[in-house]
């Protein structure tokens, strides 16, 4: 279980990015974090993956404090960040340097098969399309079998079709080992398609504002009325978090729960 206890972050220049974030994420749960720009959602993710340290509060995975990158926590960035001097298969196997060459080759081959990049195994990253590169990046993060996978707006740079494609793909990959997914996004539909829970942050400083449970069975039909209803609830919470009230809020808040 991932536990955030009053996590706060004040940057050296005095900007208060996060304040009092307390949350528990159960194993295998998918949580989407959404919020307006400057709400600290990326800051939060960077603290959880150990790249940056929170300035107050604590983060713990299975009781172990996270202060630096941890082997049980994987990360997918907004850009693929493949190493341009390594082939696709070497990139996917990058985190497996503790395995023997044979074991690594085996794991990489299976991972490439799962993300549909077998024929690109020996290609250079530059030869991949944006969607292929991001799939390789997801494979790279999943190959060491992390307990928690963090995704920082992983599909935001992709076109709409590829994005929907990769969202479904991510869910299929998640089904295999059921890691905890913590996903930062600014796309309401993406949050509702993927997550068990959508957490809305409020900006300046970043605080928890609201939480919407998405209790729709998977695979989720993006066109169903129930889906629309939950989407609406998230959007209205987002609006309220930005003080842009345009809906009677109360009716929507629990809309997802009754379904």
């Amino acid at each position: 279980m991932l536990v955030l206890d009053h996590v706060g972050k004040v940057y050296p220049n005095g900007v208060n990015a996060l304040e009092g974030i307390t949350a528990r994420v159960m194993p295998g749960e998918i949580v989407a974090i959404i919020g307006g720009s400057g709400c600290g959602k990326s800051t939060l993710l960077r603290a959880v993956c150990g790249l940056d340290r929170a300035t107050s509060g604590s983060i713990a995975l299975d009781g172990e404090a996270i202060t630096a990158p941890h082997e049980k926590i994987g990360m997918v960035f907004q850009e693929p960040r493949l190493l341009p001097w390594l082939t696709v298969e070497a990139n996917v196997g990058f985190g497996l340097d503790r395995d023997t060459a044979a074991a690594r080759g085996d794991k990489v081959r299976r991972a490439l098969a799962r993300v549909g990049l077998v024929d690109k195994a020996t290609a250079w990253p530059r030869e991949l399309s944006g969607g292929q590169a991001q799939r390789a990046a997801i494979a790279r993060a999943l190959v060491p079998r992390p307990e928690v996978l963090l995704l920082d707006e992983p599909f935001s740079a992709l076109d709409a079709f590829t994005r929907v494609d990769l969202q479904d793909h991510l869910l299929a990959l998640w089904e295999e080992a059921r890691p905890t997914l913590l996903l930062v996004t600014h796309d309401v539909e993406e949050a509702v398609v993927l997550a068990d829970r959508v957490v809305v942050l409020r900006p300046r400083p970043g605080r928890l504002f609201d939480e919407i449970r998405v209790e729709l069975p998977r695979p989720r039909d993006r066109a169903s009325p129930h889906f629309e209803l939950v989407k609406h609830a998230v959007m209205s919470a987002l609006d309220r978090s930005l003080d842009r009230v345009r809906q009677p809020a109360d009716g929507w808040l629990t809309a997802g729960e009754g379904i």
């Binding site: 993956c49 790249l51 630096a68 990158p69 941890h70 082997e71 994987g74 990360m75 960035f77 850009e79 960040r81 190493l83 341009p84 001097w85 390594l86 990058f94 985190g95 340097d97 250079w124 530059r126 030869e127």
Partner: protein, 286 residues
């Protein structure tokens, strides 16, 4: 000859309008023909000069015709002189290049990787860089004597700066985002250098090696002007003092060939390390 549609087809059919077909030719044609086109001017001038001297328009004493240069080269080669001079020059460039590269790489790496070292080292080195390297010559001669050490030191100084700057700049320019990938996978300091920093720095390093080598060839001439008894630079001075312009031009041509050859060698030797880079130009056009 032309694959151009409409506009050129008429000219091809008429068979006479060569200029429009040439200027509007598809790209791959111009790529094929351009290097040969570039030879037309120098070869044409050489040929004209040869003819001018042959028919007696000029004695060719100060500006020797190509045939005389070739004869000079052949004589130097037959007597074994040429090999001796080339050997001496290559030895100096090689040794100086090696020293300059080692020093430039080490200090550049330290200054790039460690900001405290950069703040201590860099201002001094930048100040030294502002000194024209030839200005060191009298001091080097006083310190190291007139023979090889002072020459090699001068070449090493010339090679040092582009490599130092190249390595330091390349390390500073390594993408923080790629470094974070290494951190996420919990690479140790050594592994981070080996698996992230070194490959990331390599393309810029090769460029700085080639720039350094070019300066090495430049400074070997200066070094050999200061009292050498052999070397291609000596051939230049000797040709000037004894009034043998053909020998000067011959030495210049050998310099050009050697400079190009060693540059090509560095390029070939490093090409396998940079395969991931040029894959872009060969296959990434789509």
């Amino acid at each position: 000859m032309s694959l151009q549609p409409s506009a050129c087809q008429t000219s091809v059919a008429s068979g006479a309008d060569a200029p429009p077909a040439a200027t509007r030719a598809p790209r791959r044609w111009s790529i094929v023909t351009t290097p040969w086109l570039g030879l037309v001017l120098p070869l044409g001038v050489a040929l004209l000069w040869e003819l001018a001297v042959a028919v007696g328009l000029s004695s060719g004493r100060l500006v020797p015709p190509p045939s005389r240069i070739i004869v000079t080269l052949a004589e130097l080669a037959r007597s074994g002189e040429l090999a001796r001079h080339i050997g001496a020059t290559l030895y100096r460039v090689g040794f100086g290049f090696l020293l300059g590269t080692v020093a430039g790489t080490l200090l550049g790496a330290v200054a790039g990787y460690w900001s405290l070292a950069r703040r201590i080292l860099d201002p001094t080195l930048q100040a030294l860089r502002a000194i024209p390297s030839i200005a060191w010559v009298p001091l080097f001669i006083l310190w190291l004597g007139i023979f090889e050490p002072s020459k090699i030191a001068l070449i090493a100084v010339g090679v040092f700066f582009p490599i130092y700057l190249g390595v330091m700049g390349a390390i500073l320019a390594v993408d923080r985002k790629i470094v974070e990938v290494g951190r996420i996978f919990r690479l140790s300091g050594v592994a981070m250098i080996r698996r992230i920093l070194l490959p990331a720095v390599l393309p810029a390093y090769v460029v700085s090696l080639r720039a350094g080598l070019g300066l090495g060839w430049m400074f070997v001439v200066a070094a050999e002007f200061m009292g050498a008894s052999e070397g291609l630079g000596y051939l230049l001075i000797d040709g000037q003092q004894l009034g043998k312009p053909a020998q000067i031009v011959a030495a210049i041509i050998v310099f050009a060939l050697l400079g190009k050859a060693t540059d090509w060698l560095v390029e070939r030797l490093t090409a396998p390390l940079l395969r991931w880079q040029d894959s872009f130009s060969t296959t990434g056009t789509g």
